[in-house]
Symmetry: C3
Subunit: 325 residues, 3 copies
């Protein structure tokens, strides 16, 4: 995939006609949640979500459709829309809003308006980070979703589910629970499935299959990323239930895909660099989760965004790493 420049969709893969083309853009948008410009990957991700929950599959479809359509109405450069760059944030916004807010007319209205707004935020960040040729990643999703969640503290008709963290002051913890073989096995695939807010091993396996169809390197990177995040959390003494649920994995999955197979040409230097970033992502996840605790907000994929921004910004100063595009 290309992040910031116009990724051309060649004629032989672009279906003819407006509707099939739109469907293709939407599926690529879902694929881009895992940084894959591949409509088959997007379709399998959608099936994976649907296996766990039809509500979230519907949400992903609606969110991607709204954000992609918004970009088309605003006449964004067609090549950017066609590779799904204006879809993935809408997909995540829609799932997150229906995960953390009580479903209903108002929540669904918020899904639609927020997915549309994610397109504006995406355009803003494309322009902001274009200066340094750094991708916007899932920052539009994070910013838009956190705004809506925070607003529940002022808007009485916007009710959150009990799944948002309870607001409190961060404090030091002791090691909770014991990591066993099933923690690792479940945590590994839950880490992959949590990228779409799903906690389901079969969904995680389906996501890995989707990645495999798009890119073997991305599939391997995702699984190693999940494992690295899990291992760091285990070694540092994170709570066992959180490790099992994949909480320390999904950001590392994304970092590993981005740095270990997308942004750089693979060699010893770039693999070490990606590994360091993947380790850092698990620590930054712990840090951002704690930092958002007084607000009762989840970290979402902000740790992935912050770490990949840092490592991507820094990379031109390191001649051993060569950009892949």
């Amino acid at each position: 995939m290309r992040f910031s420049s116009a990724g051309l969709v060649t004629d032989d893969e672009a279906p003819a006609g407006f509707f099939p083309e739109f469907v293709d853009s939407v599926l690529r948008g879902i694929g881009q949640v895992m940084l894959q410009n591949n409509s088959y990957a997007g379709l399998i991700f959608l099936i994976g979500i649907g296996y766990n929950s039809t509500l979230f599959a519907l949400a992903a479809l609606v969110g991607t459709t709204v954000s992609t359509a918004t970009a088309m109405v605003l006449a964004v450069d067609r090549s950017l829309v066609r590779v799904g760059l204006f879809g993935f944030n809408g997909a995540l916004v829609a799932i997150a809003l229906l995960y953390f807010l009580q479903p209903g007319v108002l929540a669904w209205s918020c899904v639609i308006v927020a997915s549309a707004c994610s397109t504006i935020v995406m355009a803003a960040l494309l322009r902001l980070f274009g200066t340094w040729k750094v991708p916007a990643l899932t920052a539009p999703f994070v910013l838009t979703s956190l705004c809506v969640f925070l607003a529940t503290a002022r808007f009485g008709r916007l009710e959150s589910t009990h799944l948002l963290p309870t607001a409190g002051l961060p404090k030091a913890v002791t090691v909770e629970g014991v990591v066993v073989a099933s923690t690792v096995a479940e945590g590994l695939f839950n880490g992959v499935s949590q990228v779409f807010f799903q906690e389901n091993i079969v969904t995680g396996v389906l996501f890995a299959v989707g990645l495999l169809i798009s890119s073997r390197v991305a599939c391997v990177a995702a699984l190693l990323g999940s494992l690295t995040g899990l291992a760091v959390a285990w070694g540092m003494g994170a709570a066992e239930p959180a490790i099992r649920a994949g909480a320390f994995g999904f950001n590392s999955v994304l970092t590993a895909i981005a740095l270990g197979g997308t942004l750089f040409v693979l060699n010893t230097a770039s693999i070490s660099y990606a590994l360091l970033a993947t380790i850092a992502t698990a620590v930054v996840f712990a840090a951002i989760s704690a930092a958002l605790e007084p607000l009762g907000m989840p970290a979402l994929t902000l740790p992935f965004v912050v770490v990949v921004w840092t490592f991507a910004l820094a990379s031109p100063l390191f001649p051993g790493l060569r950009a892949s595009n």
Copy 2:
């Protein structure tokens, strides 16, 4: 008005001599709080403030004078000073400090130093955002004021009034109070008057008159902005007293003026774009208010700044919107 480039003051409107020219710059500075490069508008805004409180009118005058004079001492490009770009943040800093801090010698000293500092912050942001040709807006006011308010937690002689929010952890609310016709009527004009921290309907009407003299489009945008903010807050279930006080209006007023009559040529696309931004501003106000709750800090005009930055940054990617300068 021009945000970032040199707005020329033509000969026929520039009074001769240093003192009248300085007074003109100061009045334009007060006008720029509502994005109007117009000394008559500034004068009427000052009268509107004075109708509600002579203290705040004096503060606005002192703050604008200090920040404008600081810019002149530092030899900032004259054309920027002449259009009031180095006045409006000083005006707001001075009012906010005297609104939230116990008046006295120390508070007034802080007003003078903070107004001077707002000029440095303004220059820093002009340079930072000049890269993308995005205006600094009232960010210097927000950053400078929040610093002083936060410092009250360490400096025993710097006493805050009971008007700063109480620090607490944000939590979900239920709908409080019933919105009636008088809520809407008062909220509409309070939303306009709250731009200068005033809660007074007559002041709001005077501000609207000041806008009308400068620009009919800005006047209409301000009133529609206030109404939109109010309507979003009402629909989402915000507390009635906050709606009546104009709390959900003043940021939307500024967003509507900036996007609905200043930055873009008016057409269907730009009006829809401004409307979406104005709606988003009310939600972002709720979000930022909640986010600042653990610190006991007010959102000030930060929601306006964040939303207009986002929509202004994004706009060049949307060919339907044409910049007005």
Copy 3:
């Protein structure tokens, strides 16, 4: 010193051979904590730390070595490494981690990984701020250290010492204690020694001697900076024990060195500008300390970073100030 551009090390001061050259780079790295590209200053700073604590002297040496070596492995432009630009953040990260975390194998492992990461963050910020030719300062240290400290709230095996602030909601304070002559005398030199997290008057004197060897202007600026921070805190009613410990001094020390002797040519305008920045630093320290209170995090040198960024960004708009390089 040069912040952002390649500072050339001339032949007559560069020792021959890899090892002496590396040692020289490391010592310059320690010197750069106080913005001095001078290996003798670095050596005296190291002795000053060792006078107070051999643990922290060892930490400074390890941190600087790791971050400098990381930059060399990643093949960063040699001239940047040679002037110590990739050392000072590692030095501070290492001291801060061992100051706020219980020592042990895990804490030392964190020191090594975090020092290496500070080099990546430094490269990212050099690139980000290179756009405006603004130095990265100690931001990599602040960001990296806060991440690790925040992570203690999720990682049971990462134990903090009792020296991290207790998380709480900021509230207004009353004046605590009476400032006497010994408060001023101790606070003056503690302010200098706190730059390296040491609270020791002799260490402060040794640091001043190190500065004197490198630059008389820097030495005078540091002492006046410490005094200014102390005076502002005293005048505003800060707690006497904090003033005595130098808490309000160390950020002002760094601001005074950066703005009062490094970035600009000295004249009346630049000295007034540096003085305003130094005063602002003490207020921003109070503000950031309060803002981080709900997280139980220390402000570290973030106030210095924020103020110098602002004043350095703004300076090209003020023709009276001339950049020194």
